[in-house]
Each structure stands twice: as C-alpha cells, then as structure tokens.
C-alpha cells in the first residue's frame, strides 16, 4: 500500500474537485466540507509519506505510471514519480497549507466568489494537484504539463477578484505563458540532444556523453532557468506578482502567496541538481555562477526597498516575497550544500511565515476596510488575537529567534560565508534590517495609534466608513488558520535541526 502513496496524494484532491463541481452552486456548505475532507486526507497521506521516506530502507519512492519497467531499455519509457524527503516535505507543506487555507475560506469564499463557490473549490484543489505533481514528477515534459495546470488554475483564481485582479491576471497570463514556453523549449533542446525525457536519464546522458560544452545544452539551461525565474518572480521578472496577489480574492492570495513561488524555487533546485547536475551548473567555465549571485543580491535589495516604499500592506508583503525569492535563488546558487540546504529550508519556513502574514493581513483589511498602514491605529487593542499572529509572522520575517526565519537566515548566511560571497551576506543582513523597519513601523502604529496633530495622508472618511465600534475579532474559521500558521512558524524554528539534517543528507 505504501508504494501507492504518491499517486493517492494526487488522486484524492482530483476526485474532490470533480465531486465539488457535481455538487453545484446550490450547496456551498457541502462543497466546503468536501474539499476540507479531501485536502485533509491528502495531507495525512503526505504526512505518512514523509514517515515512509524517512525509514532507512526506503530512501526514495519511485513510482512507475502504468508499470512500465524499463526491461529492454536502459531509459524509462513511461513516466515515473520520484519522492525523496525533499519532495515529501514540500508536498506536505502544499497539502497542509491547502487544508488550512480551506478552513479560512469557509466564510470568505461565499462572500468573494460571487456565487461560484464550487468552481473556486474545484480550482483550488486542482491547483494543489498540480503543485504536488510538479514536486513529485521525474519527467521533464510532465513537469511542463503540471506547470501549465497550476498556471491555468491560478489565472482563473486570480481573475475571480475585482477588475484590477482581472487586469493583473491577464499580465500574469502573458508572463506565465512566456515562462512556461521557455521551459518547454529548453526541454525540447535537451530532448534533441539526449533522446529521453526522464530527468535522471537526461542527467546520465549529459554526464556520459560529455555534452556539457555543447552550446545547445547551455542555451537549454539558460532558457529553462529564465522560464522558472519568470514563474517564481525573480527580480527583473517579478512584474506580474505584486498586483496579482494583492488584488486576488483574499482566500486565493493567502494560498498562492506562500506556495506558488516556493514550489517553483523547488523546481529550480531540482533542475539544477538533478536535471543538469551540479558539475554542470557550478563548473568554472560558465560565467553565470557569480552573475546569478549578484542578481539575487539585487533582487533582495530591490525587493526590500520596494516593500519599504509601499503603504498598502498586501503590496508590501508581495514585494517582501520578491525579496525572499532572492534569498532562495542566491542560496541555491552559492554552490555549497549549506547554501542549498539553507535555501530549501527557507522554502518551508518562508511558506509558513508568508502564510501567517497573509492571513493576518487579510483579516485586518477585511475588518478595518482599508489596506493602508496608516489606518492601523490601535489594532493591538481592537483585535489583539489577530495582532499576536501577525507579530509572530513579522518577527520571523525580520529573523529573530526562535522563529524559523532566524534559522533560515542563519543557514543562508553561513552558506554565504563558506562560499566567500560577502555581497550576499550583506544583502541578507540589509534586508532583515529593512524588514525590521517596515514591521516596527506597523507595530508602532498599531500599538500607539495615531498621534494627535500629526497630519495623515488618508481622509477621515475612511475611518468614518467603519467606526471602531464595528471593528471586532473575526470568526474562528479565520483565527484558527492564523494560529496554526503561527504555531508552525515556531515549530519549524524549533524543529530546524532534524529538518536541516534530513535535507542535507538528501542533497549530498
């Protein structure tokens, strides 16, 4: 039974989506229940998968679709899934966040999906199917198909928001298509040269036939990287992200912001280490090593500064995501195991803290009806429970112990020092200082409120629209996810050592 876990993780939400569509618009409650059950089940299965993979005898589960063992050939003729501890961890993160986010969606979906609740739940479950598939598949082309699945679902989910959401979703369509097509091109180039699509086999062929010097392989690598970077909003290519996530329906933003970019970072690490192999990526005759580190430095600095310049909290958080992507790209390109493992650990911790912050921000915006930081007066008094969760996420973003943000910074900085990339270390420290400024600006405002006599740039009408009396805590279906998220932030921080060791052993 255990060997079927990977496919079950995918199938359960898939069926969930089908059932939800069949249920139809008349029964939003049952749609919610259904997706809750299916996602909960799938996250339980992925939890078990982690346990299975951690056991000594099964290091990696290989699951051949259609049972096509390569008998007469060396290469895989079918498609296979490959689940090691890294994949298992990310899959668990995806399914679990999906599950928790579904709890959050309970009230929001009916409010924001304009009577299309079943379609929202179906799309979000299919999105989860796509993300899990991306993480687990071991076939370069299948990866493309799944990337497109996630893209299509996210276009639709974002476009369900207001009119600005539709516009940013359109830009996302254009950028996303370019990115995915570049990836597809790269795969085509690899296929021409190697004649196979299985990731491990491609690496093998590249290694045996010494294809590394070939121009076509280098171009293929460049294009795959460009494609993946576009998808993960790496700095110069980040244009689509902030508006898309800021204007999307809140329950969509809370799910996508933590996961989409992170999964693509995972894909990048996988492409670098498994598809092309570290000998190719980190070899000295290619100039890109230094270049990408510098690009990531620019990404970190620019992302932090852009976030600092925003007054709209959701926009601010999205720009922080851009900066965090810079962290991970830089860490993965440092070229030592510490850096890679740090980047990978940051995938998990950043997912947790972004989730926490986005839920908190959505709740606040929902309650006070204004997304500008200037409107956050005295929130610590008005909605303390929410602000506690927000504070945990913020401290983790700043990188203070014992939250997970501190430890991922620790590993990344250590990797940077070992690699002697001081510019990267400085960028990390700079961004955490900027984050401190950003969040303490909010804390001060939420803690003391506005000082009399200081002119503010938002009209009193905003505050009149919803007087303080109307501001109260939100239903449990929003607070519970918030607290699950903040607890997992702390838990990841405390658990960091075993996690890091698993990751390191898997990467070696």
């Amino acid at each position: 039974m255990t060997e079927h876990f990977p496919i079950l993780i995918l199938l359960v939400p898939l069926f969930g989506a089908l059932i939800v569509v069949l249920l139809g618009r008349e029964r939003p409650e049952q749609c919610w229940i259904t997706s809750l059950i299916s996602l909960g089940l799938s996250s339980i299965i992925s939890l078990f998968t982690i346990i299975v993979v951690l056991s000594d005898k099964v290091q990696t589960i290989r699951y051949r679709m259609g049972g096509w063992e390569p008998e007469s050939t060396v290469f895989e003729v079918g498609i296979e899934l490959r689940v090691d501890i890294l994949a298992a961890l990310v899959v668990f993160a995806v399914t679990f966040v999906g599950f928790v986010n579904t709890i959050y969606s309970k009230t929001r979906a009916e409010a924001e999906a304009q009577g299309k609740v079943p379609f929202f739940y179906a799309l979000i479950q299919l999105l989860i199917v796509g993300l899990c598939g991306i993480v687990m598949t071991n076939d370069a082309f299948n990866l493309y198909v799944l990337i497109e699945i996630t893209s299509l679902t996210s276009y639709a989910l974002i476009a369900m928001g207001n009119r600005r959401a539709a516009l940013s979703s359109f830009n996302y369509v254009i950028m996303g298509t370019i990115g995915a097509s570049f990836y597809l091109l790269g795969v085509g180039y690899l296929y021409i040269k190697t004649g196979t699509l299985n990731i491990d086999d491609i690496r093998m062929v590249l290694g045996n036939d010494k294809l590394w010097e070939h121009q076509s392989i280098i171009v293929a690598f460049i294009f795959i990287m460009l494609g993946v970077w576009t998808k993960m909003a790496f700095f110069p290519l980040h244009g689509w992200l902030p508006n898309a996530y800021a204007y999307a329906p809140s329950m969509t933003g809370t799910f996508m912001a933590p996961l989409m970019t992170k999964v693509m970072v995972y894909v990048m690490i996988r492409v670098m280490l498994w598809l092309f192999g570290d000998k190719f990526v980190y070899s000295d005759q290619h100039v890109w090593g230094e270049l990408v580190i510098w690009m990531s430095v620019i990404a970190i600095v620019a992302g932090s500064l852009l976030a600092l310049a925003r007054t709209d909290i959701k926009k601010m958080l999205t720009y922080l995501i851009v900066a965090e992507v810079g962290y991970m790209v830089g860490g993965a390109w440092l070229g030592n195991v510490t850096g890679q493992a740090g980047a990978f650990y940051h995938i998990l911790s950043d997912a947790a803290m972004t989730f926490c912050l986005f839920i908190a921000a959505s709740i606040i915006v929902l309650r006070i009806g204004d997304s500008r930081v200037n409107a956050f007066d005295n929130l610590f008094r008005k909605m303390p429970l929410t602000m506690i969760g927000f504070t945990v996420g913020a401290l983790s973003m700043i990188g203070l112990p014992p939250t997970c943000g501190f430890f991922s910074k620790w590993y990344l900085i250590r990797g940077g020092i070992e690699a002697g990339q001081w510019e990267y270390v400085c960028a990390l420290i700079f961004s955490s200082l900027v984050n401190a400024v950003i969040f303490f600006r909010i804390f001060e405002r939420a803690y003391f409120g506005n000082i009399a006599g200081v002119k503010e740039d938002f009209s009193p009408s905003d505050s009149d629209a919803n007087p303080d009396t109307s501001i109260k805590e939100v239903p449990w279906s929003m607070l519970v996810p918030l607290y699950i998220a903040s607890v997992s932030v702390l838990l990841l921080g405390i658990m960091n050592r075993p996690l890091f060791e698993w990751i390191q052993t898997a990467l070696k």
Binding site: L152, Y155, A159, L167, V173, T177, I178, S181
Partner: protein, 155 residues
Amino acid sequence: MDPIIANFIEENIVPKFNYWIYVILMMIGLYAMITKNNLIKKLIGMAIFQTAIILFYVSIGVKETGGIPIISHHGPDHHQEAEVHSEESSKNLKHNIIDKDKYANPLPHVLMLTAIVVGVSTLGLALAISQRIHKSFGTLEEDEILNELRPGGHD
C-alpha cells in the same frame, strides 16, 4: 554572391531551415506579446508563439525515410480481429521485425498533442479574462486602461 555567405547558407540554413523558421515565427509572436498595446493582439502573438514551439517539436520527429507512425504491415482487413481475437496476437508476433527508419518518431507528436491542448485552454481562458476586462473597463487598449486606473491606483 559572397562565397562566405553562400557557404553559411549552404551549411547552416538549408539543412536546418526548420529551426530558422520556428525561431523567426516565435520571435514574431514574442514581439507582439511584449510590445502590442491591444490585449487581443497580445493574445494573437501568444498563439503564434506557442505554434512556433509546436512546429519545432514536430520537426524534431521527422525522418526523411519515414512515414506516419502507424504500423501498417497487415492490411486494413485485419483491424477488427486484431482488436478482438487474442490468437491474432501470436500471428502478429512472427512478423514483428520493424524497420524503425520507416516510421517517424511518435514521441514529439504525443507531446505536441498535449501542448496544443494546453495552448487552446490558455487561449480560451485568456479570452475570457479579456472579455471580463472589456466589460469592466470598456476598452482593450492597455494604455487607456492604465490611464483610467491612475487616480484610484494604489501603486
């Protein structure tokens, strides 16, 4: 004509014209996606872009010596039995020696079937989104939309 150019054409363009064609097509599409102001024109560019990639893939699978990848050594009259009777299978096994140069490479065709489907779906969804935009903004020109957003825009 200058011999060098002629030589270049001789060696790099004529035998590899398929790559040149797809690159040119793709660049046309990319240019339209980047620079066009009208959303529908962007989408047209997107369609060209994806078609170019499909062309590229299919051209990988071509073999000058080969035809369509459908095995046709037993005539059309066998089809039904081949599906129903299993004893046919033993008969098939004996003439199982297949010259692989007679058939084109099937894999790219399969892949491109998928890519086509994906392209269609993306296009359909994008059209729906642009209709939504047109409904709420009353125009499909990007600059007009941005102008309309200026006052209210948060960024």
